[in-house]
Homo-oligomer: 361 residues x 2
Amino acid sequence: MQTLFVELGERRYPIFIGHTLDASSLLAPYIKAKQVMIVTNTTVAALYLEKYTLQFEQLGKSVATCILPDGEKYKDFGHLHLIFDALLQAGFNRDCTIVALGGGVIGDMAGYAAASFQRGVNFIQIPTTLLSQVDSSVGGKTGINHPLGKNMIGAFKQPEAVIADMAVLDTLPPRELSAGMAEVIKYALLCDAEFLLWLEQNMSKLMAGDADLLAQAVYRCCAHKARIVANDETEKGERALLNLGHTFGHAIESYLGYGTWLHGEAVATGMVMAAELSARQGWIDTVDVQRIQQIILAANLPIVSPAIPLEQFLNYMSHDKKVLDGQLRLILLKQLGKAVITNEFDQNALIAAIQAHQQAA
Amino acid sequence: MQTLFVELGERRYPIFIGHTLDASSLLAPYIKAKQVMIVTNTTVAALYLEKYTLQFEQLGKSVATCILPDGEKYKDFGHLHLIFDALLQAGFNRDCTIVALGGGVIGDMAGYAAASFQRGVNFIQIPTTLLSQVDSSVGGKTGINHPLGKNMIGAFKQPEAVIADMAVLDTLPPRELSAGMAEVIKYALLCDAEFLLWLEQNMSKLMAGDADLLAQAVYRCCAHKARIVANDETEKGERALLNLGHTFGHAIESYLGYGTWLHGEAVATGMVMAAELSARQGWIDTVDVQRIQQIILAANLPIVSPAIPLEQFLNYMSHDKKVLDGQLRLILLKQLGKAVITNEFDQNALIAAIQAHQQAA
């Protein structure tokens, strides 16, 4: 097992990364009072709820559960409210702990509930997908979707601790493994060219579920994210780089309806579009774009989106949280392993980059 | 005009207190970007929306508005969502500013919306009731009600600035002025015995709307609150003292349905119950309880609640945010001007204190 700390002063917290971890002993120091609410979804509950409930009960905790339907399309106000209902019906107080047992959607919703319930209670993350292990469970971004935009409502809420257990990836469907790999590739592209090489060498083993290699990849991604988040917790600057591919990706997800494509799939295609635009700006070569497409294809991820009317695509992009005073800003690549946030791109090049990676209408 | 700063490090902010203040020049340094959303209610909109819209437009801002129905019973998820709808329909971004123009309910909702929209945007408070000027607009507590408990969902969100203009109190209904006076009296009881004397001497002029005396009272209350909040922003300790009377009061409000009694009315009766329990613990004299009842009556506030079945009353109290590991904690008086938070009270004395200040069933 490896332990990585996210250095956020009084909100410093550990990420435990390994295989078949003992949540009970690892989390004991991080849960102060008796009440524990496990928030999970129907899919994960069937696999892991009993196991983790027992581990918390071993600690003498009084465990309640809130089981939500599985999927991004339930990341809304109505289902958030079910968590508050469960907390209040169980008589939970301000010293309770909310545990997110699931992927990014569960982490986002349980985290936002933890930020908001009684103006903030303790929060533990047990991510059960590769995507949430490398990305959404680190750094405290939580929230829900609004019909007019993804993640539009939420909070920065740091957990007390995160457990990233490779054992849970055994039951992860291949499509979800791929979606998580999109975020892994993202770290390589935005800040670690050496890691890109490592991924190119190891992608087939990673996709076959090699637990040691997966743990190495998770550690490396979490280390990058922890460093970036420690420098810029509330995304005034550098942290925005983690959104490489996301503004394009959000447009795809918004158009298709949340949950049609997985988040990681949309991000993968979004990264190709961002790379394409970067190349059209003359910052990277077309060879680099091809290399990016290849690693994304090797992870069984899409490099073209369905046909989306341009005006709608741009309109969805304009709802992005990185828009400042009416100006769209994008994360683009100055070279492989070096991303920047910028509003200095050619609008026609942006349009060409989008259209170059869409299916014909 | 007097300016008071709430000292919260990088979140330090000013409260401007005076008569007929120029919001435009006072707020200019605190609104960075162009988009301003004024959140208000139907009652306040009719009186002040045009005036403040003009003041923001003078600053070159692009002003949108969200007008909610007036009343505590609308402080819920559905109406919070209307603010998000308005923000997204107007295309507002992360650099926008949300202005709360109204009383405590508007401040709580607009503040929680500002905490949550895009994970946090700028926030300005223009409180239009005495209650919100002396209490709810200072210190960053925001939130909404849940059918199972008041203020159960929310966030700590500090504003960039607060404008407390006595001019708006001219249009305040007498019942609302009284409700605000309950919180003014609260500060005297919990930490300022000299102020209690001042209030006893000046209550009739205050209730007649003397603007100079009101400004003095608002300044004194805000100074107390600013000091307490600076010491304990997220209510780990001392800040809980500001809840004197509130646990009892919340039970009354919850039982009657939010909005039947005004919050200040419920707090007034709650303070009498807290004083009664303090006397039964032998900490203050029955003479002190009488003095508290007299100042509350002088502010035209109730000192007895309607009949509420005891079990329900205690059950509502048990949902309080100050409950820790199953233990109810109350703010009680060790002497006039000195409150403590404690779980050391006799359960029978608590019941007797409640029953002594209820109408016969």
